[in-house]
Symmetry: C2
Subunit: 304 residues, 2 copies
Amino acid sequence: MSLELCSTVSDFRDACDAIRASGRSLGLVPTMGALHSGHMALVDYARQQASSVAVSLFVNPTQFGPNEDLSRYPRDLAGDLEKCEAHGVSLIFAPPASEMYASDESTRVVVRGLTDGLCGAARPGHFDGVATIVTKLFAVVGPSIAVFGRKDYQQLKVVQRLVRDLLLPVRIFAHPTVREADGLALSSRNAYLTQEQRQRARAIPRGLLRAMHSFARGERRAVVLRDSVRDELGHAHLEAEYVTLADPESLAPVELGGAVGSTALLALAARIGSTRLIDNVVLGEETALSVSEEGSKAEGSEHA
Amino acid sequence: MSLELCSTVSDFRDACDAIRASGRSLGLVPTMGALHSGHMALVDYARQQASSVAVSLFVNPTQFGPNEDLSRYPRDLAGDLEKCEAHGVSLIFAPPASEMYASDESTRVVVRGLTDGLCGAARPGHFDGVATIVTKLFAVVGPSIAVFGRKDYQQLKVVQRLVRDLLLPVRIFAHPTVREADGLALSSRNAYLTQEQRQRARAIPRGLLRAMHSFARGERRAVVLRDSVRDELGHAHLEAEYVTLADPESLAPVELGGAVGSTALLALAARIGSTRLIDNVVLGEETALSVSEEGSKAEGSEHA
């Protein structure tokens, strides 16, 4: 099978329709491009779950705030195509923004509650943009499955929720965060870091690991677990936007004076210079803060 | 073909999948039940456009405000089934609310701008509820076409917009308002009227007709056209919630001191006792304020 590149909704829809009409199942991996090994792990996993895989490469403007990094977000179409070809992708969709949003577009998919805290608090409208573009991509592709990374944990929960609530006929798989050898989560935004910043960024997985060890030894006080992370960030002079313990499903925050239950999401956003990085672990889950075996732990969640 | 009745999303999805898998196209007519000849005209039109037609009967709670008529909205499943059978419907979907909304559901499809004025102003959240349930029904059915009545003009525009903006693969057809012999638009809510109120309600089409005649004679002043309607409503002691001239596409209101262009939506909501009725005409369009020939003027609008 060769790799087909589509840049219009109409061409991409036709190509997806043709695949489905031939009786093959379609998996979708939505990305913003600048693909790295984390993305390719999602692709490999999607290929295990569906006979053909489509990858979208779209830096979605509606999920960026006015002072965010939309214009400088890394783009590498040639490299993305090469990686997708090497990983057996059937279709790539790389539209201009005008294909995805009419000039007078005015529709948003809004997931309430789940989007109040964590990244949603600092990025108003971000998850409306995410939920909207994901709904649109699903409408064009008609995939039977789609794969999202757990690195963007809140995004994953938002997508799972909208799929359930809107009764969309797609099964969402969550893939574990893929990490560098030193534990830093892979992210297209890591490319922004200077060498010195890259070294300091190791404080993020170090902090999460410290909290995991502390949790494993029986620590349940929210403030202590949180401060394990904050202290590491502070030592490396990283600015914590948030370090939050929350319910892994509802994302309701655990009060700092309280204690966590048998599992808890520990999520953070930190700034190094002008770069904003996020990471998370679910305490109480069997999680390895190391490079994941690709796809080995991805978990499916059926639509309602 | 016999008529199949489904009450769960899962059964209905399977039945729709089976129809599409057999190569037949599916048309959807979403309704809140209590079917009348207006609905059946939409059904007949859908049958001309698709090989099989599904009708949903669902009094959607999220489009009712806290002080609205959700609990007393007319329901007549037996009558609805009989009418659908007589009109060659293949599938009926009559779910309980719990099938359509999980107890912790939190997702809304929101269409901005188009929903600010007219009924949107008096019914906050109404069109979010409409847009959400329509998106869900489309996700379950996967129809190639769907038919909506022009009586609910703002709803029609909201649906057309969300289909375009969310790139949904469905073609929306607009069916002309079906009227009684005296011009009153058919509505399930007409059943609330006493005989005396039913007589007074004739002021609604009379007012719209007066404005149409005035427009045909060259009148373009917004305030004069509006007052043609308001005067008729006033004489019959109907309380006008709004009588508004607006752009037929953007629904942007025409200022009262200004003049309308070559076409203008003239829309109203009026109360008779506790019953709220709506109606509209598009001035400058070839429109008959009489019982429409069923389907003869329905107009398709392709998704983007």
